[in-house]
């Protein structure tokens, strides 16, 4: 469970740093991931390794680390990512969407209002 959520953060960090994004607020609805990311001690298991790797990615690519953040949001505020994640379990390989995928279209429009 926590490994999955931390993998999510890890792949997001990786992807956005590959694309040279900056000024990004990363939002996860999993409290443990967020807390562990901001803590200064890691556990010795898989989760700790992923988190420390996340921290390494974050500090090396988002140089203006004051401008980018990793934050906790409530689940209700993270609906778009949730729908995408459910979509992901049905797909065999990673997919990048350049246009709004159908499954989140209405959610995105709602949240723009």
């Amino acid at each position: 469970m926590d490994v999955g959520e931390s993998l999510g953060l890890h792949s997001a960090l990786q992807w956005l740093s590959d694309m040279q994004f900056d000024n990004v607020d990363f939002e996860t609805d999993y409290r443990l991931t967020c807390d562990a990311f901001h803590a200064n001690q890691d556990d010795t298991y898989e989760f700790g390794c992923i988190i420390s790797s996340c921290r390494f990615l974050f500090s090396s690519f988002f140089t203006n680390s004051t401008n980018s953040r990793v934050e906790f949001v409530r689940r209700q505020a993270n609906g778009v990512a949730h729908v995408l994640a459910e979509e992901a379990t049905l797909l065999a390989s990673p997919v990048v969407y350049f246009h709004i995928p159908d499954c989140i279209e209405s959610l995105i429009i709602n949240e723009m209002l």
Partner: protein, 333 residues
């Protein structure tokens, strides 16, 4: 990437805490060789060729089965019992108690965790636990332990004040249970078993605030009678149990934390904050929030499908207006 550069070959470093026997032939040649000299340091893998040349087949096997983890930058000793890997006395104590000392004879069957999950004050949980453990100092129990005392019940002419009598059999208590409306359930439980402890556990399936706080109130009544010579009617006992629950519920109503001391604020500002609390945009908002200009927002979530045995990750990037920029879905494995 450095790994295991501090350990020489004959220390414990292999999988399952094994080490290379210092008596192998040619041991003196590799006496001061450190473990990392057996690796390809550029990709952190075992240099199989070297390993096979130096060691015999069984040792080669053990070495090659020792995992090398790319993320580990520096070696350190890990205390396995603690998640963070640092030694602590308390965890060592727990380890000793759990694994080294055989405590199985102390174990008793029953729904013990149910007691601690009760939504009642700790003193009530403690009482219920003592009842189930059979260590409540009823007079019969005290006599067992060599305490000289009378064994008669304080509320009725019976001469046998044990657990079952105090909480289920005494006519006074029956009246209490009847007033609470729980007597039917108790009679039902009593019909299954003769042991008071088992009855309490049977009831524990539907243990609730009223039942456990009535236990507490009955015991309170008994103690008041014994020590302070206070006579109570059954209605008082019921009432006290009820009040206990009400007071406890009241004291546990969650309060909204106030981050800014109110006296320092102007009245208008305070109103603003209160309004903000009212619309729940406080601390962490429960709806998606727009962001400052020039910033991106990246929402991340993961879900788990048990029947597909997969983890799905969804990532969505939006700009400061909330307009869709990019999204990505990844699944593992």
């Amino acid at each position: 990437m450095v790994a295991l550069q501090v350990l020489t070959l004959f220390k414990i470093w292999m999988v399952n805490g094994e080490c290379i026997d210092g008596g192998i032939t040619g041991a003196h040649f590799v006496q001061n060789v450190t473990v990392n000299s057996l690796m390809n340091l550029y990709d952190k893998s075992w240099n199989e060729e070297v390993v096979r040349q130096v060691f015999s087949v069984d040792i080669v096997d053990k070495i090659l089965h020792t995992p090398l983890i790319a993320q580990v930058q520096e070696d350190r000793l890990i205390w396995k019992v603690e998640r963070h890997g640092w030694y602590s006395v308390s965890s060592a104590y727990m380890l000793c108690v759990d694994e080294l000392v055989d405590s199985s004879h102390l174990w008793r069957p029953g729904y013990w965790s149910g007691i601690w999950k009760l939504k009642v004050p700790p003193k009530v949980k403690n009482l219920v636990w003592r009842m189930c453990w059979g260590c409540l100092p009823t007079r019969v129990r005290l006599l067992d332990k060599g305490v000289q005392c009378p064994t008669n019940c304080v509320s009725c002419p019976s001469h046998h004040e044990d657990l079952a009598h105090v909480f289920f059999n005494c006519p006074f208590v029956v009246k209490v249970w009847q007033m609470t409306g729980l007597w039917g359930a108790i009679q039902h439980a009593l019909s299954y078993t003769t042991s008071a402890t088992d009855t309490i556990f049977l009831l524990s399936i539907e243990f609730n605030q009223q039942l456990s706080s009535t236990f507490w109130s009955i015991w309170k009544h008994r103690n008041l009678r014994v020590w302070d010579d206070v006579m109570e009617v059954s209605a008082t006992v019921v009432e006290r149990a009820k009040n206990l629950v009400v007071d406890w519920k009241f004291a546990n109503v969650p309060t909204v934390a106030d981050p800014i001391p109110q006296q320092r604020l102007q009245p208008s500002a305070r109103e603003g904050i209160l309004a903000a609390i009212g619309t729940s945009t406080f601390v962490t908002s429960s709806s998606w929030q727009h962001h400052l200009l020039g910033r991106y927002k990246c929402n991340i979530d993961a879900t788990f499908s048990s029947h597909l045995n997969r983890t799905g990750v969804g990532i969505c990037i939006r700009d400061s207006e909330g307009t869709f920029v990019l999204a990505k879905v990844v699944s593992y494995p």
